[in-house]
């Protein structure tokens, strides 16, 4: 007695659409939702499952506190507003919680640096309140008493990112969008019948689980390096080819996350999106309000901004609705290696205990790895690609993709429908790496 029918729920691919979104993660889902809302006929395809890549392997951060003033902070503020306002009515579906971030400095020197950053952020419109060492216990009773002080960021929030992606896609489907998982884009339609050749042999869509479940090295390293020959440079993209059919569309959005470089490579354009591995440790369920905010150490911002290949670890500790406590986050550039690394796990545990000594006797239930898609200048890629007209990108959000997804989706929809985007997309331009705009050399 199954209350809902059985069998595959695959929707057939239509032959045409206004927009094809590649990637059913949270960025693709947000773009699909806002584009559908703007009246576009949208098709979403993913080689794996819904939220099967980085969206399913993070903590659900919607943070403004960890960004230095600059384009990313502007995008973060904008996106936080979209999460809270445009999507605010749906927040319950994906456990949107305005819990606030508490950044903790362990030494007077670190507190001084935190105050300086806070002042610069405040000048850019971030709400931040300085917290003295004496005030910390009232905010976080279980926090170490060793801390010198901190800063409270009430705008910091949290979502359950897999639910956010899945519900945004459900809402888009209700308005007519078509979502097809296990449909890998193996080529692009180009005028004159040319299609891009696959970066890897096509037809490996049978790889179950796609994204997260795929073994390391599946789909290879992101292929779209700077040295891509640009064989098809300048030739428009007019649709996609998948093993389940071809969809013609005037716009194709690359929201393939960590694999976005490979998708760009398929279109003959270079996009230096690389994986940066992160682990998140999950504890046994603890009593409610054991950890009340997103609590992290002041050196987290440095780790986020760092380009070192080595293991970076600074603790981010937060509770969840289910009672478990999530402990992020490490960052290291090791390609697509998913095996738990004792050094990373140890660093997470040490950092968390440093902030909350009571966690030492709490049991860990699991640890998971995700691959954050990052660009050499640590900025996402958002907007049309002039090197392949018709191809758009929304990728490279690194560890901030959940928080930045809502704003990214809305901006993409504005630009696609010819509206002026509410935020200048120039800093996120896909071709910026061609003109030597990248701050740092890439490579692992």
């Amino acid at each position: 007695m199954t209350p809902y029918g059985k069998g595959p729920i695959h929707q057939d691919l239509p032959r045409t659409a206004d927009l094809v979104v590649i990637g059913a993660g949270v960025v693709g889902a947000a773009a699909a939702w806002f584009a559908t809302l703007a009246g576009l006929r949208v098709v979403v395809v993913d080689r794996g499952a819904i939220a099967g890549g980085t969206s399913g392997a993070g903590e659900g951060n919607v943070l403004v506190s960890d960004k230095e003033p600059g384009p990313e902070l502007e995008l973060a503020r904008y996106s936080r507003q979209v999460w809270g306002e445009d999507l605010g009515g749906y927040g319950g579906l994906w456990e949107f919680e305005r819990k606030g971030g508490l950044v903790v400095a362990s030494t007077p020197a670190a507190l001084g640096a935190l105050r300086t950053l806070a002042a610069r952020q405040r000048a850019r419109g971030v709400v931040v309140r300085e917290v003295s060492g004496d005030e910390l216990p009232a905010l976080e009773p279980r926090l170490t008493r060793e801390a010198a002080g901190g800063a409270l960021y009430p705008q910091d929030a949290q979502v359950q990112p897999m639910l956010a992606a899945a519900h945004l896609l459900r809402l888009a489907r209700q308005r007519g969008a078509v979502v097809r998982t296990r449909a890998e884009v193996v080529g692009f339609l180009r005028p004159g019948g040319r299609t891009g050749s696959p970066a890897t042999p096509g037809g490996d869509t049978a790889t179950p689980g796609g994204g997260m479940g795929a073994p390391a090295g599946d789909m290879g390293a992101p292929a779209g390096g700077m040295g891509a020959p640009g064989r098809d440079a300048g030739v428009p993209v007019t649709g996609v080819t998948t093993p389940h059919g071809t969809v013609s569309a005037p716009a194709v959005l690359n929201a393939a996350g960590t694999w976005a470089g490979a998708v760009a490579g398929l279109a003959g354009v270079g996009l230096p999106v690389l994986p940066r591995r992160g682990f998140v440790l999950v504890t046994e369920p603890l009593p409610p309000a054991t950890v009340r905010h997103k609590v992290y150490a002041a050196d987290y911002v440095d780790a986020v901004a760092s380009s070192d290949a080595e293991l970076q670890a600074s603790p981010v500790v937060e509770g969840t609705g289910g009672g478990t406590v999530l402990i992020g986050s490490t960052r290291e550039r090791v390609g697509f290696d998913r095996r738990p690394s004792p050094a990373a796990v140890r660093a997470l545990a040490r950092g968390a205990i440093g902030l909350f000594p009571m966690l030492a006797s709490v049991r860990a239930m699991r640890v998971y790895a995700g691959f954050r898609p990052y660009c050499p200048d640590h900025l996402p890629v958002i907007g049309p690609d002039p090197r392949a007209p018709g191809l758009w990108h929304a990728c490279g959000h690194e560890g901030a993709g959940i928080g930045l997804a809502a704003g990214t989706g809305k901006l993409i929809a504005q630009a696609l429908t010819g509206e002026a985007p509410e935020l200048d997309l120039t800093p996120f331009a896909p071709e910026r790496f061609e003109r030597g705009g990248a701050d740092e050399p890439r490579g692992t």
Binding site: M1, T2, P3, Y4, G5, K6, G7, P8, I9, A49, I50, A51, G52, G56, M162, L163, A166, H167, L169, R170, V179, T181, R182, P208, G209, M212, G213, L281, T283, E284, P285, G322, I327, R339, P340, P342, A343, V345, R346, L348, A349, R350, A352, I353, L359, A360, S361, V362, R363, A364, M365, R366, V367, Y368
Partner: protein
């Protein structure tokens, strides 16, 4: 201080029939062995007993166990085998991924020598991790008084405790019989053994049984015991619902008849514990009985160099092939070390394994988990008890949110995310997800619910104190 920490030739994980045999065999062949076991006493689940001096009954291979135990103690006394009972392996890592020794991180009791309390290092592994009861959800299965058949058995064997007075034993497979007769001998009234499959007995239905005369004798003995205790054996009889408010009051059979009972023991076969094989990256496959098992070759080698597996880890087959496989794994390691191995012994072991596995295959074919068991689930039936996820919620995660594989199901509806990390509901979630999407469950469905980053509970404090082998001189 840590510099003289030994690197063993082999670490055997598990001291059940396969692990005991592997550890003793490897030590006797001349290898340095460490045997790590979660149990306080050797023997595993099959040879569970209640104190150091007792043995399991003779009918259960008690003499074989007693011999293996004596050899274990002998090798330990000679200093060739280090035996670590009461230790759980929670992580295995290999600092140099494609070679070099493995580090096994342990949770041990505090009386153990400090240097080995937290970890051991070994150049090869024999994983003999055993199996636990396979559970299938059905309406009311979460009520107090409903137990896994193996749990009922463990209480009887390990603590001589009876879990109820009026019992129904239900599910499928020959394991229901010792549970029923054990309960009856301990004083409970067993109202019925409900066998979901049509099979009556092993003798009539199993070609494979001809080649396992010991097993046939066992079947005859159980049949006699069932008769003596006047336990009705009902075939094609499935418990479709468990009745009760705050505890079990009875069971409904095939949607009709009600038997009033205060204990329901459910057994649907076994699920091998695959955490460690998956953790080291060994290839796995779906066995005849639907369980995920480690792939091994004719020398018990998994697909990962230096990692061998034996017993239920490679397919549920019972103690007899497990003992032979453990021994073969030991000889295979000895041969790899250039030690002499008698080819006749190897031939004899392979023959024993072939026979044991053929018999197990016949059992799996005779007592499958019945098709369509998911049809008994209702909107409100709990599938994942830890996170209290109902069948209805799984259905909606598929139709509304697009979850079509167990991993996505887990991320969107949370089955398998709680305390047991999918140990109890993993098989069911894989089967339900596959059935909802209109296909049979595959190994790919089972893997995400069988892999666990920590194979046993570990505190953050222990994680923080983890020593990196590479940091040592």
């Amino acid at each position: 201080m840590a510099t003289d920490r030994p690197t063993y030739d082999v670490a055997v994980v598990g001291a059940g029939p396969a692990g005991l045999s592997a550890a003793v065999g490897a030590a006797e062949a001349g290898l340095d062995v460490v045997l790590v076991d979660a149990g306080r006493l050797p023997g595993g689940q099959y040879w569970r007993h209640d104190d150091e001096h007792s043995t399991p009954p003779r009918s259960h291979g008690g003499r074989l166990f007693a011999r293996l135990r004596a050899r274990l103690h002998h090798q330990r006394d000679l200093g060739r085998l280090r035996y670590l009972p009461g230790h759980q392996v929670w992580l295995i890592d290999r600092p140099r991924p494609d070679g070099g020794p493995f580090t096994l991180r342990l949770n041990g009791p505090y009386e153990t020598a400090p240097v080995e309390r937290d970890r051991v290092r070994a150049r090869a592994l024999v994983l003999c991790c055993g199996a636990y009861d396979r559970q299938l959800p059905l309406p009311g299965w979460e009520l107090p008084g409903v137990m896994a058949a193996g749990g009922v058995q463990a209480l009887l064997k390990g603590h001589r405790a009876v879990a109820g007075r009026r019992a129904v034993v239900a599910g499928t497979g020959p394991f229901l019989l010792p549970v029923a007769t054990g309960l009856a001998r301990a004083g409970a009234r067993v109202l019925a053994v409900c066998e979901a499959n049509p099979a009556h007995g092993w003798l009539r239905h199993l070609d494979g049984a001809v080649r396992a005369p010991a097993k046939s004798a066992e079947a005859v003995r159980y049949a006699a015991l069932m008769a003596r205790h006047r336990i009705p054996y009902r075939t094609r009889a499935a418990v479709t619902e468990i009745l009760g408010e705050d505890r079990v009051r009875g069971v409904r059979i095939d949607g009709g008849e009600v038997l009033e009972a205060d204990l329901v023991a459910l057994g649907w076969g076994f699920t091998p514990a695959l955490e460690l094989p998956l953790m080291v990256g060994a290839a796995t496959r779906r066995d005849l009985d639907g369980s995920l098992v480690a792939v091994v070759d004719a020398r018990q080698r998994t697909t990962v160099p230096g990692v061998l597996a034996a017993g239920e880890t490679t397919g549920v087959g019972g103690a007899a092939p497990a003992v032979a496989e453990g021994r073969l794994a030991a000889l295979s390691l000895a041969a790899a070390h250039g030690l002499p191995v008698d080819p006749r012994t190897v031939r004899r072991l392979r023959a024993a394994i072939r026979h044991g596995r053929a018999f197990a295959a016949a059992l799996h074919r005779t007592y499958p988990v019945p098709d369509g068991w998911t049809d008994r689930l209702t909107e409100r039936t709990l599938v994942c008890r830890c996170e209290e996820v109902t069948y209805g919620e799984l259905c909606r995660a598929r139709t509304d949110l697009g979850a079509e594989d167990p991993r996505t199901m887990k991320l969107l509806a949370r089955p398998g995310m709680g305390w047991c990390q999918g140990r109890i509901c993993g098989f069911a979630v894989a089967a339900v997800t596959a059935s909802l999407t209109g296909r049979p469950a595959t190994a790919e469905d089972l893997r995400p619910l069988s892999a666990r980053p920590f194979a046993a509970p570990v505190t953050l404090g222990e994680l923080a104190e983890m020593v990196d082998e590479d940091e040592e001189p």
